[in-house]
């Protein structure tokens, strides 16, 4: 097994980036209105990656619980913000950010510590392990939370009549909201279930592909990928459960009323 790494040049990356440009042109042609979002997201990604490269080098040279913790906190807050940023109907005030950040914190911290307990790096907070793991878990949990919350709030707004009819029949808020909570949880978990089912046959997950391309033994890459998939699955489940149950709680009050007034009105672009 060769462990030689083929180094990429910036020209290679530029050619790969042209694929995204094709997408933007297609969006323009079909009037999808996605081109602006796509290009902004791509530009952000480039800037963020360049920055994180520098930050990681610095963190690896200055191993400390404080710095690792600080980096983790910033990641969690950003993930929380991003997970609620593109919702059709956001919760009013600080609730939106609160739900995003608290579910990200729960999923990220719990699962990362669990993963670190398996890998036993020394020291346990070494950023080479803690930061990429947390990032992977947050990135996936974010998708689940964002899809699930969007589904929950849309479900509540569109299903108002049915939910209130059930409340009028004397059902509790938990009973009345159960169908939309279930639907939201399914939506949140579906992508991760799909990718677990198809992993290895339809596609090699990004991390494993990266490790193999970088010259790691496939058997080791598989073991790491399995660990990651379990972490990612667990993180998505914890994060979406926290966000959706918290969201359902916010959508109702202690007198078992449906509180759509706590949602901002629908903004279609």
């Amino acid at each position: 097994m060769s462990t030689e790494t083929i180094f990429l040049t910036y020209t290679d990356l530029a050619i790969a980036a042209s694929l995204l440009l094709v997408n933007a042109i297609l969006s323009l042609c079909f009037g999808l209105g996605l081109e602006k979002r796509l290009l902004i997201a791509a530009a952000r990604m480039i800037a963020q990656f360049a920055l994180i490269g520098l930050v990681l080098v610095w963190l690896f040279n200055n191993v400390s619980l404080l710095f690792t913790g600080l980096a983790a906190a910033i990641m969690i807050i950003f993930a929380g913000r991003e997970s609620v940023a593109r919702q059709d109907r956001r919760f009013v005030g600080w609730w939106s950010l609160g739900i995003g950040v608290s579910s990200m914190a729960l999923a990220g911290i719990l699962v990362t510590i669990f993963a670190l307990a398996q890998m036993r790096p020394d020291p346990w907070y070494h950023p080479q392990y803690a930061i990429p793991l947390l990032g992977l878990i947050l990135g996936n949990a974010m998708n689940g939370v964002s899809l699930g919350l969007n589904n929950l709030t849309n479900g509540a707004a569109q299903g108002k009549l049915a939910i209130e009819t059930r409340l009028c029949l004397g059902q509790s808020r938990e009973e009345a909201l159960r169908p939309i909570v279930r639907e939201a949880l399914r939506t949140a978990m579906l992508p991760i279930i799909n990718s677990m089912a198809a992993a290895g046959i339809v596609f090699l997950p990004g991390m494993m592909t990266g490790q193999i391309l970088a010259g790691v033994d496939p058997e080791e890459a598989v073991k790491y990928q399995l660990l990651i998939m379990f972490m990612v699955g667990g993180g998505t489940a914890f994060g979406s459960l926290c966000a959706i149950l918290g969201g359902a709680r916010l959508l109702s009050d202690s007198r078992h009323r449906l509180r759509l007034d706590r949602l901002q009105t629908f903004k279609s672009e």
Binding site: A162, R166, L167, C168, L169, Q171, H256
Partner: protein
């Protein structure tokens, strides 16, 4: 007064303080133009929206009960009906009672096995009312319960409601139908931009 319904200074956004006393077996009709606060008032009584004020039914205070307990006693029938299961019968918890009521409204047995999508607007309205009446709530908050019905079915519904009144139920009913007002009620509560006035009919 222990028996009956007591409402004192019920307020919510869009509703001026409203007070009301209704004895057992009485029906008060609520009328006024669209958007005048009829539904806001009924929803506030059912505690479906945030509101303030004292309400007691037959000596029991609303604030002392959980909201689901209260809504089992003070049953609000929404102006539009909602169906969330695929089959009609799956919505009913008191099925035998509901079937008897549905028959009184001219809807017979196999209808409970129908897919929900097969129901007409009028059938939906009568079945929703049957769903609410089946649990025998002592206070009925009915928001235009006969708006989609022809005169014959309206009569069947009114007959059933009068039976409920004779059994001691209290009804607050919003309606646009003046003739129905005189048929059903002894008093009326007229709303105009959130303010209400009580009248003897």
């Amino acid at each position: 007064m222990l028996d009956g319904l007591v409402i004192e200074n019920l307020t919510r956004p869009g509703l001026h303080p409203t007070s009301l006393r209704v004895g057992k077996g009485k029906c008060v009709v609520i009328h006024g133009p669209s958007g005048s606060g009829k539904s806001l008032f009924l929803r506030a009584v059912a505690d479906l929206d945030p509101n303030n004020g004292h309400i007691a039914l037959n000596g029991e205070t609303r604030a002392m009960m959980s909201a689901p307990e209260w809504r089992k006693k003070a049953a609000y029938l929404q102006p539009e009906s909602a169906w969330w299961h695929d089959i009609v019968g799956a919505h009913f918890t008191h099925l035998p009672a509901a079937k008897t009521l549905a028959e009184a409204f001219g809807l017979y047995e196999p209808i409970f096995d129908w897919p929900t999508s097969r129901l007409s607007t009028g059938e939906r309205q009568r079945l929703s009312l049957a769903m609410v009446l089946a649990s025998k709530p002592p206070l009925l908050l009915l928001d235009e319960p006969t708006s989609a019905l022809d005169p014959e079915n309206t009569k069947a519904v009114e007959l059933e409601l009068q039976k409920q009144l004779a059994g001691g139920s209290i009804i607050l009913m919003a309606t646009h139908d003046r003739a129905q007002m005189y048929r059903m009620a002894s008093d009326s509560l007229t709303f105009c931009s959130g303010k209400s006035t009580m009248e003897k009919l």
